[in-house]
Structure formats: structure tokens, C-alpha cells
Symmetry: C2
């Protein structure tokens, strides 16, 4: 019986991944899948279609790690070197597998085409390797065991690679070679608190977990408008691990309070959409500085027509009056970025749309338009929900135009979440 795999390296092959426009994103998916098996990625490389460099990087990776995953370079052309270079480095002779040739030929004939002779390269299999079927493309993957180590070759396109790797990890050749331990994960997403504030609240809690055996690991991912806490635990017993993680999560939620909006990974606009759907409520939004971003986020979700009625983007003061019925005197007296105007926008929006819930956002996204009294980042959000008094609040968001706009939509969605 071979030893369990623990340390992996990933090599992405392809000159197109060495330019200024494309990153190897497959490695994130691979890392997440391997982590679930308790296998850590210790290094990643990108190599062009260059025989010598690929051979050198592969050999070095295999010396350092017990699992090497190569992606890309399995196509039929002369540029596609991965299969050959790996077989050569491992000193494994290759031969054509007639069953694979037949499968590739069938793919072509289904489209009324004859298989080009060059595609027979994709049917070459190193001795002892297991071909991995590819329902979404012509290049099969390969699983190779050599000297107690494992080498996996996967096609580059994500829609071919992902199902192939999932099959290997879920109940396939890789899960069979993983150790008894798995990595289990839970998360808590918060909004309306800065990263440093969240850190201050949770640090005394998660620092205690580090000394436990095995430790609960905490990762904090912050973007403007959202801070995510990801907890993970390496363990052999799933029930016990999930019990500890659940308790850890509850400790975090207890200190984060109402700002912890989800523990199932749903983004805020999706969560609020689901709440509206469950309560059979419809929503309309009147947006100024966010220019349609709130409606765009809500309607990006399939099926959102069940709860989004629509809205008005009133970028100019004139449209705030003509489309939303905000009195010119109110705009004159308080300015477009003010609590009375936001409230009038929300009122006008509900009246004109007949929706159950209405939201209004008006603010200064920048970089221009700020003043000493109302600097860039000042945003007023008004939310009107059934049976509740109108909520109107003035926020002050840090960051550039894009960040201010996103934080404004987060604040609006979070206010509605709390009212519902």
C-alpha cells in the first residue's frame, strides 16, 4: 500500500499563460479540490510550450512533492508537449490506445467530420498510465503512478478539467490515495464593518483555536463592503469536525452580531432576493450615485423577476423631480445628497411602482463633486419596507468611485435585510 499523498505542486503549461493578459485560474479550483482531501499545494508554476523548461520544472516539482498536477498542453498539435515530456522524464514508453482513438474519431464523426491524423497523438498513453475520460473535449487526461508518487495530466479548458478532477477527488483514483484526514470548512460573511474592526472582534476568539489539536484555521478575506471569515479544520472524523467548526462559527456570530449576514456563502444580493421571494414581496429602487448597480446586482440572479419590479435611475436633479416626484424646493433647500431627498425618492419610487419595498440611494461617488460638508463617499440610503417606519441613514464610505458605489449597494441591501 502506497503512502498517503500530502504535498502537491501544480504546473500550468502554455505560452498563452505567460503574457500580460491571462492568469492560470485552474489552480484555484485544483487547490480547493485537493484541500478537501487534506492535500496541500506547496507550489505552482507556469511554463510555456518549451520542452526543456517543462522537463526541468516537472522533474524538480516531482522531486519535491508526492503529487504533481499538470494542466494544458494535451491538444493535438506540435505545441502540445505535456504528454510527451512527462512520459520521457519518467522513462515510460508510449503507445496508441485504440479505444481512445475510436472515441475521438466518434466525436468528429458526430459533427460530420473525419478525425485529422494529428489527433491520434491524443490517444498516446504512457505504459501503466490510466486514461481519464473527457466527455467535453477530445483530450483524455492521464493518471500515472511512478516511484510511489502520482502525476496527473489534465486538459486546460476549465469545462474539461473540472469534471475530470472532481471525479478523481470524489470517489476516484485521487481520493483513494489521499490520507484518512480531510479538510472541512465553514464560513461567516459580514458587512457594515471594516476589516480592522472585524479583526479586532474576532482575533481574541480565533487565536485560542490555534493551540487546539487539530487547530481551526481562520482566513479573513476583505473587500470593500464585505469581510469574509473562512474556518477550516483537518480531521478524519467528519461529524466531530463539523461539530467543532459549528461551535467555532457560533462563537464568531456571537461577537459579530447582526453584521454576520450569512453562513452559507450566499452573497448579500442573493440572500435579500431569497428573503423577498419567501415573503412574496416585490422591490423597486431609485438610484442616483449608484447609477443602476443595485438593480443590476439584484437582476443578475436568475428568477429575480419574481421579486424585482424595476426602478428609476435619477442621475440628474431634473429626473429626481420629473420621474420620482421629488419637490424642487426640497432639492434646493437640502441638496440632492440629503436625508429628506432620499426619503422623498423612496416614497416616490414606492408610489410610482406599486412595489412592496422601495430603496433610494443618493450620494457622491467621486472623484469629483465633494465638498467640505459632504465629502466624496457621503451616501444617503433610505429603505421603506411594509409595516416598518422608513429607515434613512447617512453613510461615509472610504475608497474610490467603484468602491463607494459597491458599499452603497451593500448598505442598502443590509438595511433591508435587517428590516425584513
Amino acid at each position: 500500500m502506497s503512502a498517503a499523498l500530502t504535498a502537491a505542486e501544480i504546473i500550468a503549461v502554455g505560452s498563452e499563460l505567460l503574457g500580460w493578459s491571462r492568469l492560470d485560474t485552474n489552480s484555484l479550483f485544483i487547490t480547493e479540490q485537493l484541500a478537501a482531501l487534506g492535500i496541500d499545494v506547496k507550489g505552482k508554476s507556469v511554463v510555456g510550450d518549451d520542452r526543456e523548461r517543462l522537463r526541468a520544472v516537472f522533474t524538480e516539482s516531482l522531486r519535491r512533492s508526492d503529487l504533481v498536477i499538470l494542466t494544458g498542453g494535451l491538444g493535438p498539435t506540435d505545441d502540445d508537449l505535456t504528454r510527451e515530456v512527462v512520459a520521457d522524464a519518467l522513462a515510460l514508453p508510449m503507445s496508441e490506445e485504440p479505444a481512445i482513438t475510436a472515441t475521438i474519431a466518434r466525436r468528429f464523426s458526430r459533427r460530420g467530420l473525419e478525425m485529422p491524423d494529428v489527433n491520434r497523438r491524443q490517444a498516446m498513453v504512457p505504459r501503466g498510465a490510466t486514461p481519464l475520460p473527457n466527455p467535453h473535449g477530445s483530450a483524455p487526461g492521464l493518471f500515472i503512478e511512478a516511484e510511489g508518487k502520482v502525476v496527473v495530466l489534465l486538459p486546460g479548458p476549465p469545462r474539461e478539467l473540472q469534471p475530470m478532477l472532481t471525479a478523481l477527488c470524489e470517489r476516484g483514483l485521487l481520493s483513494a490515495r489521499a490520507g484518512a484526514e480531510r479538510v472541512f470548512k465553514v464560513s461567516v460573511f459580514t458587512t457594515q464593518r471594516s476589516e480592522s474592526h472585524v479583526e479586532e472582534l474576532v482575533q481574541p476568539i480565533y487565536s485560542r483555536w490555534r493551540d487546539q489539536h487539530p487547530p481551526v484555521e481562520t482566513t479573513i478575506l476583505a473587500t470593500p463592503g464585505q469581510v469574509e471569515l473562512h474556518l477550516s479544520l483537518r480531521a478524519a472524523d467528519e461529524a466531530a469536525a463539523m461539530k467543532r467548526l459549528e461551535s467555532a462559527r457560533q462563537q464568531l456570530v456571537a461577537v459579530l452580531g447582526d453584521s454576520a449576514f450569512t453562513t452559507d456563502g450566499r452573497p448579500l444580493h442573493r440572500l435579500v432576493g431569497d428573503m423577498l421571494r419567501q415573503r412574496r414581496l416585490t422591490l423597486a429602487a431609485a438610484e442616483s450615485c449608484t447609477g443602476g448597480l443595485l438593480l443590476e446586482r439584484l437582476t443578475g440572479v436568475p428568477g429575480s423577476s419574481a421579486y424585482v419590479a424595476g426602478g428609476i435611475v435619477a442621475y440628474t436633479n431634473t429626473l429626481k423631480t420629473t420621474l420620482l416626484g421629488v419637490e424642487p424646493a426640497l432639492l434646493e433647500q437640502h441638496g440632492a445628497v440629503s436625508e429628506p431627498v432620499a426619503a422623498a425618492m423612496a416614497d416616490g419610487m414606492r408610489e410610482r411602482s406599486g412595489a412592496d419595498v422601495s430603496i433610494a440611494i443618493t450620494g457622491i461617488a467621486g472623484p469629483g463633486g465633494g465638498s467640505p460638508e459632504k465629502p466624496v463617499g457621503t451616501v444617503v440610503v433610505a429603505v421603506l419596507a411594509p409595516g416598518r417606519p422608513m429607515s434613512v441613514r447617512t453613510h461615509s464610505f472610504p475608497g474610490g468611485r467603484e468602491h463607494v458605489r459597491f458599499q452603497a449597494t451593500q448598505a442598502a441591501l443590509d438595511t433591508l435585510r435587517r428590516l425584513l
Copy 2:
């Protein structure tokens, strides 16, 4: 005099770059900067905060390439190993540079803090290395020449790394070590044509360039709704290179015709915004299936309040009638996704907003809502510009919800561009 640098490798250091959530994006910026100096990136790696692996990867990279750029791992803590590992691998003793210590101490004292002793690590300089000032952080970079090769250490945060590298490449130590040749670039962006259609049109042209000396290289980047052609040329004489690239670009524009919308890299929503501003026109949009995405794109540009009046997101039929004045009979007879309804939305939008230009988009973004007559991806776009008859056209876009929505906004913007 040392030989000109031609082949580079990039090593990103940091365990946080080996997880499932973060990629090393600095390498794209570095690749673009080096390409301009005629230096190709031949390989990229990511290594965790692991002394042995970092040393191995660094040594191997330096053996293969004449320039190695390391990013990250220059902080003050025990995890920050890059400086020490590189000095050790090159057998260079390190000593503290008092001028750097003083600079770091001043950064702290400006914030009323005393410099922690651990930050003195950041003032350690390998013998013969040139420190690179960091106006945006405490970690200086390092430029090291060893055995005719060059090693550059840069801090990980992009706002610290980018100005430092730009200074090195523009008129600094790296540009001085580059060859006489530079890489020059031009681009052409097109819309309303598929990647395969663009490829078919331009392939006969760019394939001829490959045999010229030096060759003009063509890269095609396709996203739904936009195909970008990037041309580059390696040459010593800038004027001659730009003349050839300009001629190459004109040949592409000649076959692409009106679908080539920009040669200066401006995205379509920015280009159309600039056209509106120059012509002193205002715009309003009535959106159904795009749910605010068109307005969101337009208003994402600073200063867009000069030409965007606002708009209406009429997601339901009711709002198409109450907010835009579309006759219920028209909706009944033709359906919401129809040319008469799109035209009525554009008319209603112009009338209610008083804007010079109005755009209406109605369609089926999917995944639900399709029918045999109007499948998912069917989108009708109507555009009304001053002095022109209304343009109304039914499109059929491939892809999922997000892609259909984006392509719909591209089609609307492109129609307006052509009318203006």
C-alpha cells in the same frame, strides 16, 4: 559591459498565494513592463513562506534565466524570507543600511509611533545590492547583479510594487540592462462579430506578417460581446516600428470595417460616453432584461453625469406601462420582447426624460423564460438619436444569463456609436 537581458522568470512569494482564493496578479503587470523592454517572461512560480522550497525554486530559476524578479516576502516578520534566502543563495553577506532604518523610522514617527525593532530587518542590504526606495510602504526593493545576471526583489502590494518597477523600467537600472530592442504595441477592438468570424477575416492578413522580419505578432482576446486584436513588434527603431504597426492596424480596420470601434483601448461604454460629451448630448435608457447594467456601465465612468440623465428599469410589464407609457395592448399583441414594444419604450423614455438620446433593451436573458419562437438570448434593442430614424433590431446572443446581458449592452452602445 554585461550582456542585454532577454529571458526572465517571476517568483511570487507568500503562502496566502497558494490558497483557493488569491492569484498572483502582479505577474501580469511585470510581464507587460518587461515586454516593453524586449524581455520575455519564460516562467512564473508561486512559493509559500518556506525557506527550502524558495531557495530551490530561486536557484533553478536563476540557472535558467538571466533576470529573476521576486515579489513579496519583504515584510518585517519571521515569515518574510525573500531577502534572507536570496542573499544566502547568492552567498552575499547582509548588513543594516542606517539610511534605510532612518527612513522607516520616519514613516512611523509621522504617525506618532515608534519603529518596532523587528522593522530593522527591512533595512538589511546584501553586499553590492542597490536598495530601491518605496514611497508607499516600509519595505525597500533590492536590485542585485550577480554573475552577469540580475535579481530584483519587489514588495508584494501592487501600489508599492508598480511605481518601483515602472521607475526601474523607464529610465532606471533595468532599462539600462535591456537590449536595444523594445516591444511596441497597438490594438484594435471590435464588437458585433464572433471570435471565429473575426479570425476568418483577419487570419489571411496577419499570417503574412509572420514571415516578415521582424514579424508583427497578433494576439486575439475574445470575450462575449468583444474581440480584441493586439499587435506587437520587437524592434530597435521606434519610428519605423510604429509605422509598420500603424500600417498593420489599418489593414485590419479595412477588413473589419465598422465593427472596429476603437484603436486606443477605450472600452465601448467609455468611447460612447466621450462621443456624447463632445456632441453635448444627454442620454436616458429604458432597460428590461439588462436590469440596469447599461446605466451601471455608463455611470461607472467619472464625470458621466455630464451626459447621463438617468433611466428606467422596467422589469415587469406593469412598469413598462406605468413608468414608460407602453400601451398594454401593444404588450398583449406582440409580447414584451418585440420590436414594437422596444420602440415604444425608447419613445416613452425620451419623452419622460427629455434626454437627447434614448436607448431601450428588452429580451430574454435566461435561463428561464425562453420559447420556441423567442428562445433565451433573444434581445431587442431600440435606439433613438437626434435627426436619425429610430433603429430597432432583434438580436440572438449565445451564452448564459451574464453573457447575454453584457452582449445586449454592447449591441446598444454599438448601435448608438454608429448613429452618432
